[in-house]
Amino acid sequence: MSGLPSLNANLEQEFGLINPVMPYLRQDRIPHIWCPGCGIGTTVNCFARALTDSGMDLDKVAIVSGIGCTGRVAGYMNLDSFHTTHGRAIPFATGLKLANPGMKVVVYSGDGDLTAIGGNHFVHAARRNMDLMIVCVNNFTYGMTGGQVAPTTPIGPTQTTMPYGNFENPFNLPFLADACGAVYVARWTVYHVKQLAKAMLDGLNKKGFVFIEAMSPCPTLYSRRNRLGDGVDQLKYYKEKSVIRNGADTKEVGIAYQGEIVVGKFVDRERPTWLDSMNSHFGSVFGDRFTPYGVTDGQE
């Protein structure tokens, strides 16, 4: 994320330049809490770009986060924004979406939040094809709490609670999302800003359970602890070791420690959403007595 308000004001005054991300942020909440070199802000830039390109009415977009460094994203976005409890962004978002189907609901949270404590909600929301766009910032660690092992940590690196190196098998998140029924699955890194923004745009325009994994450095904890250099060094790693393989078999996209990162759009398919299924089912059961739910809701 760029800059302090004063810097921005100067740019605006002296050069007539406005940071295009600023209108999407709650400017009165800047500076943000993220460390120098952290990748979360870059993903937010991409998200702002996607929102611009989508041309959506931003009053009809809500963002829901859990708890973590990434969980703070909701608090900075100038949208209806909800910072909930650790792991439970998806069920909150489910309630929000079902109670006002006119909203586009985006869940934006960390790898630990979404797939450890929130793992059960993740698999069920994907199974139901709940109409939610999930952005998972994967930094291989629990940033907020100081660098503990996550379900995404590759075998090898140390974490505060894996002081002798991680020996637990990690999740391959695109495979998990695919297997559970997500209609759109993509992975990019914060080196691939254009592609990440495009995936987010795809996600905003797609109906159903969308999963976007954004690989992002945590220089303060994960990199430092494992002597991987700073944020820039992680970007170099992403640049050198990423291979774009659109349509790759998600079974094959697991990540080894500092190993190859397969990126791309892996899944893009159609399935009826939970609400579509409910409406068509009740329509066939009750006929004319049933008024399709949520078709006008939210457009009042």
Binding site: T85, T94, G95, L98
Partner: protein, 385 residues
């Protein structure tokens, strides 16, 4: 405001408490329920699932009670009146989101059809042992409201009150039934929609830009908006300021927590609801709630036949606790008899209010069935000595 006719099954019914509670919720305007099956509460969501398609709304069976208890909070912020339904083990799983509902001031109703515990305990048999859990179960300091019906008719009537209180004070409201009330079938009269008073959400009339999501007036309850209305609200479980922005310092904490607590404590006397029978000037006062009040009433009547001046004070609303009223009665009563289907929870509150001015005789029960009226009668006779 009157009830929306779409949700109201006006007429005379012969249904159990669980079904009546569901009808109460529909009549109150509840249009989003997320739940997870658990005995003895399941009939509430089963009925809701079968009724809602033609009423207009949504039921979803979530993957667990953690999910259910936060899905309803999302539903409330999207503008719906919401409810979840559970029993002991599920209630325990919901606790983190009771706190979230409190700090985000999200109106919601949580039905707890109580069964014997701890743990899986007695799934199909009654208890009243969650009284303290609904009050204290989530971490941190807070206040909630809890009602306790003693009949299917009250499951309907008080459910409307539960929703009205949730909307008025923007707190989670517990609806503490028990297995017996949930499964007993009795006559239930559902009035016409125009005879049902329903409190609408406290929507703001301010425009975006003028509105602060947690700015409260004299009643300490902020006005609400919903997602999608252009206010671009931020709602967080972190300690926050009036704009809803995180403000993590002792000053902001003090301001927020005091307001959350005082919006209930300052209105305690408006909220408290007790049913009194001959308590004024009584030597012995029986204090009870929920199903136990029906057994206690039988014992009270028998004791009167034996010449005891005994009154009965029944808590329709358990939290806030009617401490002021009990303290008044302690000026004249010799003793309080406190039967409850737990090993002594409400009696602690009674003792606190009585404050040594009269004897307080608990009648604990581990649950699984209701008290024998004779047990309560004997205790009344003992207290009258």
């Amino acid at each position: 405001m009157h009830a929306d006719p779409k949700g109201v099954l006006t007429g005379i019914h012969f249904i159990d408490g669980d079904h009546a509670a569901c009808e109460g919720a529909l009549a109150a305007g509840c249009r989003f329920v997320a739940g997870y099956p658990i005995t003895p509460s399941t009939e509430v969501v089963e009925r809701f699932a079968s009724r809602i398609p033609l009423v207009g709304g949504v039921f979803i069976q979530m993957e667990d009670e953690i999910a259910s208890s936060i899905a309803i909070l999302g539903g409330a912020w999207a503008g719906k009146k919401v409810m979840t339904v559970t029993s002991g083990p599920g209630l325990s799983l919901m606790m983190e989101h009771i706190g979230l509902a409190v700090i985000t001031e999200t109106p919601c109703v949580i039905v707890d059809v109580q069964r014997g515990g701890p743990s899986t305990g007695l799934p199909t048999l009654p208890a009243q042992a969650d009284l303290m859990q609904v009050k204290w179960g989530s971490h941190g300091d807070y206040e909630i409201i809890a009602l306790s019906p003693n009949s299917p008719q009250e499951c309907f009537d008080l459910m409307i009150k539960a929703f009205n209180l949730a909307e008025t004070y923007r707190v989670p409201v517990f609806f503490m039934m028990d297995e017996v009330v949930g499964h007993m079938t009795e006559r239930v009269e559902i009035p016409a929609p125009e005879d049902i008073d329903v409190v609408d959400r406290k929507w703001t009339t301010k425009k975006p830009g003028e509105y602060n999501v947690y700015q409260a007036g004299a009643d300490l309850v902020p006005e609400m908006v919903k997602a999608g209305d252009g206010y671009r609200i931020h709602v967080t479980g972190l300690t926050h300021d009036e704009r809803g922005y995180p403000a993590m310092n002792p000053v902001a904490q003090d301001k927020l927590v005091r307001r959350l607590i005082n919006k209930i404590r300052d209105h305690r006397e408006d909220i408290v609801d007790v049913r009194e029978d001959g308590v004024e000037g009584a030597d012995v006062v029986v204090v009870s709630f929920g199903i136990t009040s029906r057994v206690a009433q039988a014992a009270v009547e028998q004791a009167r036949v034996r010449g005891v001046k005994v009154g009965h004070l029944r808590l329709v609303i358990c939290w806030p606790f009617p401490a002021t009223r009990i303290a008044q009665l302690a000026e004249t009563a010799k003793a309080f008899v406190v039967p409850e289907l737990n090993m002594g929870q409400m009696v602690l509150e009674v003792e606190r209010a009585v404050c040594g001015r009269a004897a307080v005789l608990p009648i604990g029960h581990a649950g699984g069935t209701v008290h024998e009226p004779a047990t309560i009668l004997n205790k009344i006779m003992e207290a009258a000595q």
